[in-house]
């Protein structure tokens, strides 16, 4: 091959790379613009949010948008309470999910007992049931228990998730048997083996599962919509929906509420990005 040919080929390649880079940068800009919009507009006056052409830097910073978002239009601070509700529900569900998933997964991965196959099939069958199908009977069940409009009602239907169990079982199948036997020889009973050997060594898998669970709870809308009535018991997604439709809401304050709602997830994302993406990419089929 002649030198000129080679040079031509190289130019073609670098040209292609430049075109690729340009496309990527354009896509990136399109993806990031709404995020930048949310953040900058949350400091703007209502007028300015919808002024075209859009000013990417607020002419003056209106921190009172954040105050209005927290206070609400009726000055009753329901948003603060609703954020607390979301945190209570999401954290409780995350913890119980991790513990029960690890426990059941451990039982299924490391013990032989009569009916184990049936149990495994049962867990897989539960994974197939979409929440949307059982939400009405669940709603009636929760009413019968008298859990309407309460934390019990918000939390109980999500206490254990079949998907988490399956995920932890797959993870624990590869757990070294020697480690368990060593602990047995040291005189630990099975429960303390689980607590003191299995759990500490499953932190990465449980973190991925925990983040996945926390996200889906933070995002959950359909169930809280069914089960809560009072403003005090609502969660963040419900508050934002209501805030959107209120006549006196100013656009800046609405986006301020959105920014506040996003802070916990962004903190987790930037500190634990690996687990964040890992959990969602392997198990993207669960509740959204």
């Amino acid at each position: 091959m002649s030198r000129a040919d080679n040079r031509l080929k190289n130019t073609a390649r670098s040209l292609r790379e430049i075109v690729f880079d340009l496309i990527l940068l354009v896509v990136l800009a399109i993806v990031l613009v709404p995020l930048v919009f949310m953040f900058t507009a949350s400091f703007m006056e209502s007028k300015e949010v919808l002024t075209m052409p859009y000013r990417w830097i607020p002419s003056s910073f209106h921190w009172e948008n954040y105050v209005q978002a927290i206070q609400g239009n009726d000055m009753k601070y329901f948003y603060a309470r609703n954020i607390l509700n979301s945190l209570i529900v999401a954290i409780t569900v995350t913890l119980t999910n991790c513990v029960f998933a690890a426990m059941t997964g451990f039982g299924l991965a490391k013990y032989r007992f009569f009916g184990k196959r049936a149990v495994l099939i049962l867990v897989m069958a539960t994974m197939m049931i979409p929440f949307e199908t059982i939400m009405i009977p669940l709603y009636m069940l929760v009413n019968n228990f008298g859990w309407q409009d309460s934390y019990m009602g918000l939390i109980m239907p999500f206490l254990v998730n079949a998907f988490g169990i399956f995920m932890m079982r797959q993870f624990l199948l590869t757990f070294p048997e020697d480690l368990l036997d060593a602990a047995r020889i040291d005189g630990l009973n099975e429960l303390s083996i689980f607590i003191r050997v299995v759990i500490p060594n499953s932190i990465p898998a449980m973190t991925a599962l925990g983040i996945l669970t926390f996200r889906s709870q933070w995002d959950s809308m359909l169930w809280p919509l069914l089960v809560t009535q009072s403003e005090e018991m609502k969660t963040i997604p419900l508050y934002i929906t209501k805030f959107t439709t209120e006549k006196y809401t100013n656009e800046g304050a609405l986006l301020a509420a959105a920014v506040i709602a996003s802070i916990p997830l962004f903190v987790v994302f930037f500190s634990l990005a690996k687990y964040f993406i890992q959990g969602s990419s392997v198990f993207s089929g669960t509740k959204g």
Partner: protein, 299 residues
Amino acid sequence: MKSGIEKKKARWGWFFVLPAIIYFSIFSFFPIINAFRTSLYRWNLLSLNPPRFVWFENYIRLFQSEAFWNSVKATAIFTVGTFSSLLIGGLALSILIFSRKRFRTFFQMALYSPAVLSTVVAATIWLLILDPRGLGNSVLNAVLGTSGKDYQWFANPDMSRISTIIIYFWKYIGHFTILFIAGLSSIPYTIHEAAIIDGAGPWKKYWRITFPLLKPTVVLVCVLSLIQCMKSFSTQYLFVQSGAPRAPIDVLTLSIYDTAIRDHQIGRASAMSIILFLTLILFSWAQLRLSRSEEVSFQ
């Protein structure tokens, strides 16, 4: 005969799995049986008449009702629109990112960042961007060379469908890209090398090597996202709440919610949810079949 230790271990096994079994019986199996039972009754929550057993009347009425078929259509349009654009966009972007050597992680993280937001927050941002006076109109006007035209992102039936699709696309494109990049990196480099030695150009290499080997990933991602899209609720709910016309975006889940909560027709709503359940089962089964026959090994 089993030894004592084995027996003891078997008891512990049951000890670990029993809580979950009891829980699922109450909060999954009992409700699903109940959902099916309820779907055979004419059951109005507010009516004083007791629920009446009507066999499959709810299903028959659903199949005859225009509103139900409209929901099916809205769900189908949303699902197909969202997932085909995500599939094509995700594949293209993953190849672009995968072909470069530097900043790979940066691009992945940046594209993924909208997925961090909750769905309601994403919908709220776009509600303001797509406002008649908002960013969406001015950008589209600039691109299409029109001036001051309102594209009616919410008011126009077709546009409101497109708007919900745009929101989902924006939120999940990074997620799809990352899934496909994971699939691409699982293809051993030696196969690419062999293709290059055999004289395959970049395009030929993509069509003949990369795509066929990526197929299992594609199938898996497709089915999972199809199921996800078919259950979408929040975006459409927020749209309707803020005044968009209901019919074009009245997806199944939204329709189930309204039938049960607004109209108090528990039986009819349950019938709809059972239909949704069976459809999803069908998709999962198809995925299982497809992925089994598409198993690729790199030995």
